[in-house]
Structure formats: C-alpha cells, structure tokens
Symmetry: C2
Subunit: 334 residues, 2 copies
C-alpha cells in the first residue's frame, strides 16, 4: 500500500474499499459499523439528543491530544451538555491528497481510545479525498446521538436569578496548547490541552441532582463568550468573581506574554453548570470526584440585574462588564 | 455586514452569532433548531437509522443543483436506502475565508428547498471558518436520523439468487453535469444533475412490498461499483443486461467523447433495488409513479454463479465482467 492518501482513495471504488478495510474500519470496528450499509440501524426509545461538529484544528497533533481525540470528545461533550448519555457517533473524514497514512492511523487510534474511554461506538462513516491544496491535511466531522433521561430538562434558557454558576476546572489550556504547538513557542511547552470526554462527570452530577438548569462547555470564545450566551438565552444577568476562576500558571504566563485574556481562550474539557443554590454544594462535590473535575468551584451567580450581560468582580475589587469575544483570537483552535 | 465570510465569523464570538442569526438560521428555522442548545432534543421510538456524509463537490453550483441540494439529498437518500423515513438532519459548514456571502445564502436557500421537498428538518448545526487556502470555498457535512419501520429489514447483505435487479432511471447525469461545469465543456451543456431526494420513491415502494431485500443509491463509483458492493456483501453473482440500462443521449455523447463508461459515472437521484422476482413488477410500477422514477426498469438478476462478481450481457450478445471502479474518474463529484 502507498504511504500517503491518494485521490483514488476517495473514488468510492477499489482503493476506497481498501482504505476503509485496512486503515479506517479496523481501528473502530464494532457490530453496528461492520454491517457497512448506507446507514447504521439501532434501537432507541424516548428523548434523543442529536448534535454535529466539524473539526479543523491546526496542527493535527498538539500537546495533550490530536484532532481525533478532539473530534470524539467535542461531540460527546455537546451531547453531555443536554444531560444525554452518548450512544453513537458518526465519523466523516475530509482528507487532503498526500496525507501520510501513518498520521491517519495515529488519528484513528486516538478516535478509538477516546470512544472507548467514553463508552460510545462509531456507528457510521464517510471518507472524501480532495486534491492537494483544496484542504489542509485533515478535517473531521463527528455527529452524535444520545439518550436523554425523561425527567431531565437542561437548556441554556433555564437559568434563574439566584442560581449558582459552577466551573469544572482551570481555563484556557486547550487554546494555549494548540497555539504554542502551532507557533513553535517555547514559553508554554508545559501546557497540555484539557481535551477530555465529560460524559462521566455529567453522569455523576445527575446522580446527585435531577434539576440542573444549564450545562455548557466553554469551547471557542472561551468562558466569557459561553457565559454571555447563557445570559442572553435565559435573559438573566451573570456575575462572576475573578478570584475564584482557576487559571494554570503556564496559561497565565502565556496569556500575559501574548496579551490574551484567559476568559476568551478555548477549553475542550471543561463545563459550566448553572444550578439551584441549594444544590451547588453537592454538585461541586460530585464534579470533584471525577478525574477531570478536581478543581471545580462556584465562580459566580445569576442575577436579575443587568439582564443579558455578564459582569466580573475583579481581584482588585472593581466590577467590569465581560463581553462576548469580538474578532478572532486564534483561528482553527478546534 | 461584510460581503464575504471573515475568519472571525468562525470565532464562536460576536461575528459567529451574527452570521448564524442573519444568514444561516433564518433559511432553515424550525422549532427544534431554534432552541440553539448544544444538541437538538426530540422524541423517537423503535429502530433508528443514522448516517453521515461530507460533501466537497467542485464547483459549488452545477446544472441541476448545488452543494446545498446535494448535501440534503445525499443524506436523505442514505437514510432512505435502509427503508427509513428521514426525520432530522444536522448541517455542518466548513467555510473558506473570503467566500461570498451571496453564495452562502444561495446554498442555504437550496438546503431549505431540498429539506422542504423531502419533509425533513435541520435540527442542529455547526460553522467553522478556515484561512484562505486551507479549504476550497465550502465543504458541507450533513448527518441524518430516520425511523425504520419495525418490519423492514433492508440490507446490502440480503440479495438471493433469483432476485431481480431494478434501476430507477438513466445513469451518469450527475457526474457529467458536474464535470461539464467544472471543465467548461460545452458539448454536454444540456445534461443536468439528477440530484434528488428519493424518500418519497422509497415510501411508494414500501407501500407495495415489505420484503425488499437491498436498496442502494449508485453515487461515487457509479452503477458498476454499487452492484459490485452488493454482490460482495450478499456473496452472490449479479448479471445485468446492457440493453435495459437507460443512458440519456447527452450523457452517452459526453462519455464517448471523454472515454468514460457511464456504468462508472456518479448518480445522485437513482436507486438500485434487489427484490423478490414475484414482486418486481409491482415495485417497478410503484417507482414509475414517482416523479424521479419514470424510467425505472428491471436491468438484471441475482445468480448463484460467479459469486461476488458482476457480469453484463452486452448489446452485441457477449458477456463481460464488470469490475469495481479502479483509480479515480472524477475527483470531488460529491
């Protein structure tokens, strides 16, 4: 077999079948995928969550992860943020002609490992190959379906004044990790992406509370943009305390050097939960029991004041409005 | 608003929200999509079909369709080929910086029209923007879910010797239409893509028969490759009659000039059905009642001889083996 992906690997003909049989399918084989019909078919019942994301991260491999792990975790997390138990993912590859087969194999292995960790299966897939120069190495789309328990009603529109805002851990690691590997910057070589599946964390949270109002993962646009989305969607104000927002030293250093605000830097393994104030303690404790949530904390609360806006009490005691990201901080972060 | 897509439209921040609110969401608004949470949530029950496809067709607009119509129809058809009633699609865009907003709007309109025609909703979406030169204008992923009736068991593995092979209409139109618009070839300016949703055709077929063995749409790799897939998957032989395979004059002329074999040219609105011989008549009649199936015909049969191979009786009376596509005929046809 050739050592790089050829245009004919995307023809739908003999070489496509070879690529699927030798490189793609073996990594992610399971009884649903292996039928190789035009769609996967499986039994479901009740409320279904359905989501999609395309991943165009550059470079493909970065400290703490790669595009494969990212593509699985990102879609698992979008399902988890509805309280859904992720069931099946689809996997669609757009490959630039000339991609090294070894790189493709590494990505497929990451996909398998992340899917195994999260307990989901790849049910269906697709592969396209485009001419050299028509894409940048590899783009991945994953879509996913998950089962939402009948009594769960989580939405970005459910926050109420008085609710507490919980953050599951330190912010900005994914963005800085990708940025440092892209630019070859040395200052932050110790920063790893936080890219992780959050479905087990959410399962722990749902064990102790069935009335969580909002869950969202602060990816592109960072914590600040996601909080703004929630404030808009629920028509409430949100106040956060700068003191309580964890930022790792490596991320802080990199941000200071580059003039970035960690509030706007992307995360791929963190969640924001907006919860009833009476339950915030047990929910923080539940998150802390998860391997990806040991630094969880209440970082603020929901208010009936300054509706649709987010304010932050700074470490020096001032209060400032924290707006949505404007412009583009770091293209192709996910 | 700017007249082209900017990198910041993919930031996840303010401009992303603007693009979604002003350009993307209005075209495809519906109550499920409009909640704008991390996943869509809806009720389902029973057997679910789930499929995905990324579309990288070049050019974006071609006679008879565009990438938007293609992306909706292709995924609807993959669901339909399992006997599923398509319910919801996801829509994920990878946009090259600099794409004209007018082109994006035209594509979104096509998406809406095709979704309306097929009676499906866009439930969830995602937008990424990559730097100029990192993608070619626009790639679209659609994934889809559909409901499979409990008594339907359609699979490429179900063909049996004695079964009849039905083709729903003339072949090669999509491939030749895209090719002619790409290369600026004039000879075939009259050839239109056959890009169409086949769910209503399949519904008509299921009204008259609940025991259809295999359905598949002969897209990339054409009729020949798809028949080879079915022969392999079912471990049977297939014999087709060249005389009975409809090819439009424009397609035939273009193929002769370019040295293409229409058997290998892509279709986006045709299906192959393998059915019990006793039911082939009523199924052909049902297909003919559909607007996209007026030229349906039995084109061959399944045999216990030459298992995994496809043979064709030619118009001059010879029999030749018809292999899977090798190499790449037309890159980026879908």
């Amino acid at each position: 077999m050739n050592k790089t992906v050829l245009l004919a690997h995307g023809s739908g003909g003999r070489l496509s079948h070879e690529l699927i049989e030798k490189v793609l399918a073996p990594a992610i084989a399971n009884p649903v995928l292996d039928k190789m019909d035009d769609s996967a078919v499986f039994e479901v019942e009740g409320k279904l969550a359905f989501t999609t994301d395309s991943y165009v991260v550059n470079p493909l491999f970065f400290p703490g992860g790669d595009i494969g792990r990212l593509a699985v975790c990102g879609t698992i997390n979008d399902l988890s943020m509805m309280g859904a138990r992720p069931l099946y993912l689809s996997l669609s590859l757009i490959i630039e002609e000339g991609l090294a087969l070894d790189d493709l194999k590494k990505v497929m292995l990451s996909i398998r490992e992340a899917a195994d960790e999260a307990g989901v299966r790849i049910a269906t897939g697709d592969t396209k190959v485009v001419n050299k120069g028509s894409a940048d190495k590899l783009f991945i789309n994953t879509s996913g379906v998950g089962a939402v328990p009948a009594d769960i009603e989580i939405s970005g529109a459910n926050a109420r004044p008085g609710d507490k805002v919980i953050l599951s851990g330190p912010i900005g690691n994914h963005g800085i990790a990708v940025m440092s590997s892209r630019e070859g910057l040395q200052f932050s070589s110790s920063v790893q992406s936080d890219c992780a599946p959050l479905n087990s964390m959410v399962a722990r949270m749902l064990e102790v509370s069935r009335t969580i109002r909002c869950l969202r993962d602060p990816t592109r646009g960072g914590l600040a943009t996601t909080l703004n989305e929630l404030a808009l969607q629920s028509n409430v104000g949100i106040v956060i305390n700068e003191d309580t927002i964890p930022v790792d030293d490596g991320v802080r250093g990199a941000c200071e050097m580059l003039g970035f605000d960690p509030l706007y830097v992307a995360n791929e393994g963190k969640l924001i939960a907006i919860v009833d104030p009476d339950e915030s303690g047990i929910i923080v404790d539940a998150i802390k029991k998860d391997k990806y949530g040991q630094d969880a904390a209440v970082i603020g609360e929901v208010t009936g004041d300054h509706r649709t806006r987010v304010a932050m009490k700074t470490t020096i005691g001032a209060t400032r409005i924290v707006d949505m990201l404007t412009g583009e901080l770091l293209p192709r972060i996910c």
